[in-house]
């Protein structure tokens, strides 16, 4: 019963054990209730400080973390840093040291360079939450996706999941693949050959297949995840035109006839309608895109609670029976 999550940081899904992942998801379920109450706030992190350090624009993820912090009564401070100023002079580590001087309990970092959270974690006393680093990982997105899947499918084990799109540059795909295969799902990925390296199966030990056609990946799938085409990352150089992408790699209603009868469709947002996903699918009954958003707050509350909640003393406390004052 006493599953412990005793980490200082959440840097990626890859290093988490299946038990740790399940523990986070279970905790998130309890927090989902808080957001459904009339008073959507608990005093748990009163007096704690959470810094949202975003080197990359992201209204959605930043807002989600901010709401999560506030519902836990933590003080949330948003800092938008431009990574161009970093290359000019101040190093990432300078920035980190400056923030440490404010004694935050948690730093949530989004950065366009893979590994920036890991570098921060090495020198900061605060817990570091990776809110997306380059093409590496986006652990809270994978956790909220898993929470959504669990809610609709009852579990993860044994599910068939298709992930479609720019796999090469996608941190969402990586985190999801690590999480889903760790919990016993099988994952098929597909997209343009330039964006789906043939050796991508090596990412995990087992449970991952690379398909040439998206139809083959979707065949029999219980979950279809569509990735966003990130125009700002010059992915356009990887395929001839948006029109060709939409025709050959976009998800259309007829694709869903290949999937299992009660398949669900997910997208991390923001969507490019008519490119990677048709509006009929996005707005259809199979789409859980809005559920994903509300589960995001619950997952982020759970993470902030687990990282910034307790003391750092460690030690084995039988947490469910230990009473206050005893």
């Amino acid at each position: 019963m006493s599953t412990n999550f005793n980490r200082k940081d959440l840097l990626g899904i890859r290093e988490l054990s299946p038990a740790e992942i399940t523990h986070i998801l279970d905790t998130a379920e309890s927090f989902r209730d808080v957001s459904r109450r009339e008073i959507k706030k608990v005093p748990t992190l009163r007096g704690r400080t959470v810094i949202n350090l975003f080197f990359e624009a992201s209204t959605r993820t930043r807002t989600s973390f901010e709401i999560a912090a506030k519902r836990l009564s933590a003080d949330a401070i948003n800092i938008s840093a431009s990574s161009s100023s970093v290359t000019k002079g101040e190093t990432l580590l300078d920035t980190a040291r400056n923030l440490e001087a404010m004694a935050p309990d948690c730093i949530v970092i989004r950065h366009n360079c893979a590994g920036a959270p890991h570098q921060l974690a090495r020198i900061c006393r605060a817990g570091i939450v990776n809110a997306g680093d380059g093409s590496h990982e986006h652990p809270t997105q994978a956790l909220l996706d898993a929470l959504t899947i669990r809610e609709h499918k009852g579990g993860i084990e044994g599910l068939k999941v298709a992930i479609i799109g720019d796999i090469l540059h996608s941190r969402v795909a990586r985190s999801n693949i690590h999480l889903l295969t760790a919990l016993g799902a099988s994952v098929s990925v597909a997209g343009p050959g330039t964006l789906v390296p043939k050796d991508f199966t090596e990412l995990v030990e087992k449970g991952l297949r690379v398909e040439r056609r998206i139809e083959d990946a979707i065949e029999g799938a219980d979950v279809v995840m569509i990735l966003r085409i990130q125009r700002e990352r010059q992915t356009s150089a990887f395929f001839p035109s948006m029109r060709e992408y939409a025709v050959h790699y976009g998800l259309h209603l007829e694709h869903l006839t290949l999937a299992s009868q009660d398949a669900i469709v997910m997208h991390p947002g923001p969507m490019n309608r008519g490119i990677e996903i048709s509006s009929e699918v996005a707005d259809g009954s199979r789409s859980l895109i809005l559920d994903q958003v509300s589960n995001g707050v619950a997952v982020r509350m759970a993470i902030l609670y687990l990282l910034a909640g307790g003391g750092r003393a460690g030690g084995d406390v039988d947490d469910t029976t230990k009473r206050i004052g005893e």
């Binding site: 893979a114 590994g115 680093d133 590496h136 050796d199």
Partner: protein, 449 residues
């Protein structure tokens, strides 16, 4: 000035005889190689080398000393100090300074600075093209006259095959070897580590092995076309080593070197995003490391060169994507060779001396070096192959600290470095080392050969 190195075990493949020998150096040159007990002049300064290996001075064919232009990273003096602490009596300085060493004035400046430092010998390498821009040939003849020993645009490849052909043909006229950094840039675009399983996992842009191999194969073809002498810098992939192997079979004058980090580390250490694991060519996957070891064993690889590339801590404190390529290596290279190659049974001590001294001298035509025959220059590297020690980057002689080997433990160390008969480096604990070394040491070395 006479120096007698007494009681050591001499390993000199140019003589072919390895045995206990005393070495007498007079006026900077080897005056005599004496059998134990043979008479030596009584007034000579004596260096007690009992139980130690005495080898012709090690020559690092590939270092970046950053002067002129980037003295905050390294100077010729600090670089030379690190060199002798690492057992290198000579280092060959790549031309990617600021300004680039593409003219005799810069060449002369480097040589003068090295003379002022008066530690290791510094041999400049000139640029192949002006400003290493890949467009126009640099003044190879004038630089040769000023003292360069080779030409290279290292740090960058020569992108155009046509330009490379012309460079090889022209360099041939001055008997200069063309040293190429093999990298097909269009395949590398933005890459920061070896492309493979680890780059996929870490989400970092990859540099495929094919990028190095395409250029290595091209250079071998051009060596055949032009008849030039070609040396491939820091080979790191199975395909590049295979290309050199084939070229040698064909009888072409193609040689290559390998850097210690390419046999000591794999791309798996990039996990954690420590920027001291970022260099170019990048750390490769296991299969390539095995190919490097095979190349060292079978003779395909001619030389060990550190590719010592100092960078300031602030530059390395950036994100993995933004940090510069390169690690320091002068003070750890020989130890990595002893620990990981000799003690692991990949090569013997004699082959180590070929890789670190004999072959570099031959490839760069360094007259009277890479040997301790009578009359040769008195550059000597003295090793204790069994001394266990720990590298502490904080105590490095280099101005920079960007090493992935901080805190590593090694078996095998450099205990003294002698340049032209002058002791320029002595291990701080030499006295204790001598006390520890008993007579049976000699037998151990014999067995290791």
């Amino acid at each position: 000035m006479r120096l007698l190195i007494k009681g050591g075990y001499l390993i000199d493949p140019t003589v072919g005889e390895n045995a206990g020998r005393d070495l007498l150096i007079e006026k900077g040159r080897v005056a005599a190689v004496l059998k134990p007990g043979e008479d030596a002049p009584e007034d000579a300064q004596v260096f007690d080398a009992t139980g130690l290996v005495v080898a012709p001075g090690f020559i690092d064919m590939h270092v970046h000393l950053r002067e002129p232009g980037q003295e905050y990273k390294e100077t010729i003096e600090t670089g030379a100090r690190a060199a002798v602490a690492g057992g290198w009596t000579s280092v060959c300085a790549m031309p990617n300074t600021d300004p680039v060493n593409d003219n005799p004035a810069v060449t002369r400046f480097i040589i003068e600075q090295a003379e002022r430092a008066h530690l290791a010998n510094v041999f400049p390498i000139g640029a192949i093209t002006k400003a290493s821009g890949g467009a126009e040939l640099a003044e190879m003849g004038e630089m040769k006259r000023a003292g360069i020993v080779a030409v290279s645009d290292d740090g960058r490849p020569v992108p155009s095959s046509g330009m490379m052909r012309r460079a090889m043909e022209y360099a041939r006229g001055f008997d200069l070897v063309v040293v190429d950094h093999c990298e097909e840039r269009s395949l590398v675009a933005g890459g920061v580590m070896h492309e493979g399983r680890m780059s996929l996992i870490l989400g970092l842009r990859g540099m495929p092995a094919a990028a190095e191999e395409i250029d290595a194969i091209r250079d071998c073809l051009l060596a055949e076309l032009t008849g030039a002498r070609v040396h491939l810098a820091h080979v790191s992939t199975r395909g590049a080593i295979e290309a050199v192997r084939r070229a040698k079979h064909k009888g072409l004058d193609v040689t290559c070197e390998v850097a210690p980090h390419h046999w000591a580390l794999t791309d798996e250490v990039v996990e954690g995003y420590d920027t001291n694991t970022k260099m170019n060519p990048p750390l490769r996957s296991r299969e390539h490391v095995y190919a490097v070891l095979e190349g060292l064993r079978d003779g395909t690889i001619d030389a060990i060169a550190t590719d010592h590339a100092p960078h300031h801590a602030d530059e390395k404190a950036l994100e993995y994507d933004h940090a510069p390529f390169g690690v320091t290596g002068l003070e750890t290279g020989v130890a990595l060779a002893l620990d990981r190659l000799v003690h692991e049974g990949v090569i013997g001590l004699e082959r180590l001396v070929e890789l670190c001294s004999v072959n570099p001298a031959r490839i760069f035509r360094l007259a009277d070096r890479g040997t301790l025959k009578q009359g040769a220059i008195g550059d000597v590297t003295i090793l204790d192959p069994d001394l266990s020690w720990t590298f502490d980057a904080a105590k490095s002689k280099s101005r920079s600290r960007n090493t992935p080997f901080d805190g590593w433990q090694f078996r095998g160390a450099v205990v003294a470095t002698i340049v032209a008969g002058r002791i320029v480096y002595e291990h701080p604990e030499l006295k204790q080392i001598r006390e520890r070394n008993e007579a049976n040491k000699r037998e151990e070395i014999e067995a290791k050969r």
